[in-house]
């Protein structure tokens, strides 16, 4: 007396068995049924998915986390501040690997007097180590200046701020940033374009911080989002 296979219950005649013709033919019927496209598809669905090795879990040979890397920046951090604070910082960055960063943020100066928002790299809050070459546009007038300061942006009393900063470490190891800020209410909207540098050569960009010159001038509801250039 023979035996049956595990998965499809195909009959396996014993070595010396006779008269197994019908049973073998039944085997062929079973196999024929199992090899239809629909049955194969149903079986594949049970093992498809991430890590399966099936090409179905890739597009052009790439997995999901590899897609889009050549197409643009990748978001690496975001925060919507839930209470007033003085600074927001991003740590464990690797500028040597990421090459460029882009930071977008919105905030509002909650006070009636001017507040500066500083971009600090790698924990150095020494004003004299930063330089800013700026163009400020307000009321149709342009004012240019070179400042030895961390005041990346200065918000007038109760001004809303919307800012974009692009950052990198240059070939000689100096931190550089393009700053573009858009401030004020609609009727008094004004703009700053600035080139911002840190004067000491650095090994790497590891930490970035936006710090307000006055305590708690980054209000609840402020949003920060940071992107890096490379996967």
């Amino acid at each position: 007396m023979g035996s049956y296979t595990t998965n499809f219950n195909l009959y396996k005649p014993d070595v010396n068995e006779t008269g197994w013709g019908d049973k073998v033919n039944q085997n062929f019927e079973i196999i024929d049924d199992e090899l239809t496209a629909n049955k194969i598809l149903e079986k594949l669905k049970t093992v498809d998915g991430s890590g399966s090795g099936l090409d179905a879990d890739t597009i052009d040979g790439k997995h999901a986390d590899e897609l889009g890397g050549g197409a643009g920046f990748e978001k690496i951090a975001e925060i919507k501040v839930n209470s007033d604070c003085t600074y927001v910082e991003f740590i464990n960055l690797d500028g040597n690997s990421d090459w460029f960063y882009v930071l977008f943020f919105t905030t509002k100066n909650p006070f009636s007097y001017d507040v500066g928002y500083w971009l600090i790299v790698n924990d150095d809050g020494t004003n004299a180590n930063y330089y800013l070459q700026k163009l400020d546009i307000s009321n149709g007038n342009i004012s240019a200046g070179r400042l030895n300061t961390m005041d990346t942006i200065v918000a007038h009393g109760n001004e809303d701020v919307f800012c974009k900063i692009i950052m990198t470490k240059d070939v000689n190891g100096y931190f550089r940033a393009f700053v573009n800020s858009h401030q004020g209410n609609c009727e008094n909207v004004r703009m700053r374009i600035a080139a911002y540098c840190y004067k000491i050569a650095i090994e790497n960009i590891e930490k970035l911080r936006i710090h307000s010159s006055v305590n708690n001038a980054i209000v609840a509801g402020s949003k920060f989002i940071l992107f890096k250039a490379r996967k």
Binding site: Y87, V115, T149, V214, N215, F224, L226
Partner: protein
């Protein structure tokens, strides 16, 4: 004085509320520096504004002499 901030670790995506301690003197010093820079900038802006007004006045006078205004 305690300065409150948010620290985001980009590797773990963890966000922490943190407090940095600085002396009141240091804080006041920072405020004074900001005020000083602001004053210097205001003076520069006043000078630029006056320059523009003078230039505009001169331009109008010249155009009048030329009979264009």
């Amino acid at each position: 004085m305690k300065l409150k901030g948010f620290r985001i670790d980009v590797k773990t995506n963890k966000i922490k509320e943190i407090f940095e301690e600085i002396t009141d003197e240091e804080y006041q010093k920072r405020l004074e520096e900001v005020k000083k820079r602001k004053k210097e900038e205001k003076i520069k802006e006043m000078i630029e504004k006056k320059k523009r007004e003078i230039l505009e006045r001169l331009a109008i006078e010249e155009l009048k002499k030329e009979g264009k205004l």
